[in-house]
């Protein structure tokens, strides 16, 4: 039964309005293709990069500062040139995008989980619980997200012993970006939940005596997820940028696992001296990635908005 329903689900999706609007928009298709390629390359990066830059043994200092291949002095094995340590820029970008995406996905998922749960509880239970959660959200909204992330990062650095920094830094960044972004989800879900909880199906579920938690998760949640997906996609772009900002400021992911932001920061030191490829290429990559994800998010918002159909 379950197996048989898979083609059915695909058919339903292909026939749906959402897929129709996807096929109608060339920009969206391009954005999806770009995102797809980047994600696949990032996931497979450790196996497909031409030069594993994590292996310090493979670095040759005398190859440092090689320009891109089409510029005089470039070497064929370094398509986009090398950085100050002799690392292939093309490879570092692929490995860096992997870190950026990993942090972005995890942080968004984390923020989504907290936000959706608190929103559901807030909207469904109401009363004092609702007031407390929403006031906390208001307070949270009055701080810029990046400030909270910086604060958490700073405190974590103070608490965690120095030799454990590199191992834990990634989690700290994910946590700090996630915790600074949950409010948008909580507010949206709470609004939808307030509408849904007075509908007949919820009342019916309540009458047959289901546990409130079961009602929230099994019955209300699937009906409030549409907007959450939109915020999630846009939030992913935001989280990738937040991570790049933190890493650019030098408080993000550890130097041993450079993300796009780290690469831009390192390359930035050589911008004045004309070795532009170290910072421009990771920068371009970041722009493309964030733009593609944002376009997807915009399309999803329009496609799921009944008023625009």
């Amino acid at each position: 039964m379950a197996v048989a329903s898979v083609p059915g689900a695909v058919r339903r999706f292909v026939d749906s309005d959402v897929f129709y609007s996807f096929r109608r928009s060339k920009v969206t298709m391009a954005a999806a293709a770009v995102t797809f390629v980047i994600v696949i390359c990032s996931v497979l990066a450790p196996w497909i990069v031409p030069h594993n830059t994590y292996d310090v043994r493979s670095l040759n200092l005398l190859d440092a500062f090689t320009p891109p291949v089409w510029i005089e002095g470039g070497k064929p094995q370094y398509l986009l040139g090398t950085d100050d340590q002799g690392r292939d820029v093309f490879s570092t970008i692929m490995l860096g995008a992997r870190v950026s995406l990993l942090v972005g996905f995890c942080a968004t998922l984390f923020a989504m989980t907290i936000g959706v749960f608190l929103g559901l509880v807030s909207g469904y239970i109401g009363g004092t619980t609702d007031a407390v959660i929403m006031r906390v959200a208001d307070v949270k909204l009055s701080f810029p997200a990046i400030l909270i992330a910086l604060l958490i990062d700073g405190v974590a650095r103070g608490i965690i012993p120095r030799d454990m920094h590199d191992d834990l830094a990634l989690y700290v960044v994910i946590f700090s970006i996630g915790i600074s972004n949950w409010v948008a989800y909580a507010r949206t879900v709470r609004g939808s939940t307030l509408v849904e909880k007075n509908k007949e199906y919820v009342q019916a579920a309540r009458i047959i005596g289901l546990h409130p938690l079961t009602i929230m998760i099994r019955h209300v949640l699937p009906n409030v997820m549409g907007p959450v997906l939109v915020i999630g996609t846009l939030g992913l772009a935001g989280a990738i940028l937040a991570e790049a900002t933190l890493s650019f400021l030098g408080v993000g992911v550890p130097g041993t696992q450079p993300s796009l932001g780290t690469l831009i920061r390192v390359g930035n030191n050589f911008l004045f001296s004309g070795e532009w490829w170290m910072t421009i290429f990771p920068g371009v990559m970041l722009v493309i990635l964030v733009l593609a994800v944002n376009l997807l998010g915009d399309w999803l918002r329009d496609a799921l908005n009944p008023k625009l159909r």
């Binding site: 310090v56 200092l61 005398l62 002799g86 030799d163 030191n269 050589f270 004045f272």
Partner: protein, 527 residues
Amino acid sequence: MRKIMTATAVAVALAAYGMAEAKTFRFSSSGDINGLDPHVNNEAPTNAMKNNLYETLIFRDYQLKLLPALATEWRQVDPTTWRFTLRQGVKFHDGTPFTADDVIFSVKRNQHEQGGMRTATLTIKEVRKVDDKTIDMVTEGPNPILDQDLSALFIMSKPWSEKNNTATPVRGIVGNESYANTHVNGTGPFKLLDRVPDTRTVLVPNENWWNKQPQHNLTRVEFRPIANAATRVAALLSGEVDMMYPVPLQDIPRLERTAGVKVLQGPELRVVFLGMDQWRDELLDMPGSGKNPFKDKRVREAFYKAIDAEAIKRVVMRNVSIPTGEMVGRGATGYSKELESRYPFDPDGAKKLLADAGYPGGFTVTLDCPNDRYVNDEATCQAIVPMLARVGVTVKLNAQTKSKHFDKIGTRSGNNTSFYMLGWGTYDAYDMLYNIVMTVNATPGAGSNNSGRYSNAKVDELTKLIRVETDQEKRNKLIYDAMKIHKEDFGHIPLHQPPLAWATRDTVASVPQSPNDYVMLRYVKMK
């Protein structure tokens, strides 16, 4: 209405006039100074700042010449006694007069075991007050370079120190809130107006300075650290600062081509080297093993030979450093051309040495490195990581800001390091031998920055002889012998003499570049 307008015009004109007269010199470096206490934190940029606020008996100028300062005259009465005539009419910033008692007090304070500048007064046994304007210093054995030593002894006010409960120094950098470390009362050409650590240090000229014809024309000085090299360059280009150092080496050609910016370059009297823990029975990174590979000379030699100093020069230092195998640089007394040549780069030999020592698969060690102290310090360490990886040694790099770095490798934390980078600038090889090479506390205060605690009794003996040898030729021979033993022991791994590179805007008329990398505000002229 017209009256108001006239008044406004006059006010604007006055303000413009005032601005034309104000000569504010804003400068920046990669890191903040380590503190203001004149008798702790022996570090060049910190000493340079103290040198603007405090004075010594004998002043070392930007050409490294010794000039009279708080002492107007000095001579050696006998091999162990020096007589100093003190300058009269000098006042500290708080108005109290400078007296012979202040000198006696400052020598004692500087000799305190928490002090970081003890080299300056190490040999002084006693300071005698002959009369109000004359003192005698008696040394323990003859000290032929006492005048040079004293150019690093800053004179504090005895009543001020006692009143503020800061009569003894407190060591340390991070969070060192002792009164003398956060306040200033010197006799120098500048006074402290405001200081926020890691943010800004603001000075104003001391209008009561004894030298009534100062060579500077400044009315205010602002120093602020900008750690990021590119940001520092941008700050100079945008006119936010008038002078900054060090210039990132990769930016020198571009800045030289930029109108309105001047780059000053010269060799620095400093050697940057790596040190290794040679005293713990167990390496910090190998808990439970009961082994410390660095105790084996072959391992130290392997590290030396695995590092390609020429590649570091060509790539990291952009061909402007001087690779060296000696602990003192060109220009210092006791420098030897022969010792300067490095043992050849030999990774295969290094692998073999490691295998012979019982580490065919290498081992793991943390390299402590500053990231805002020496020219391209972190980049140098980063370049060393793969070089050692290729002979099998896994190096974990711990690069951090210099205050934390120096606290970690220094005596405050009990030399909490296994492998570290340090640089030392000196005018005389004795200072290097005494602070870096000698066994810790072989004589009081010796090995103050010997963080790996290299120890060789023969070197200690020779260093003691150097201290009292007055014949320059014999002395140079002793220095040569000591340095040669140390080199053959691989006590430290010297890397290079970094270049000095400063950059100024055309708002600055002149700022002399001293080979010790001191920014001497008393010579700075603005246009």
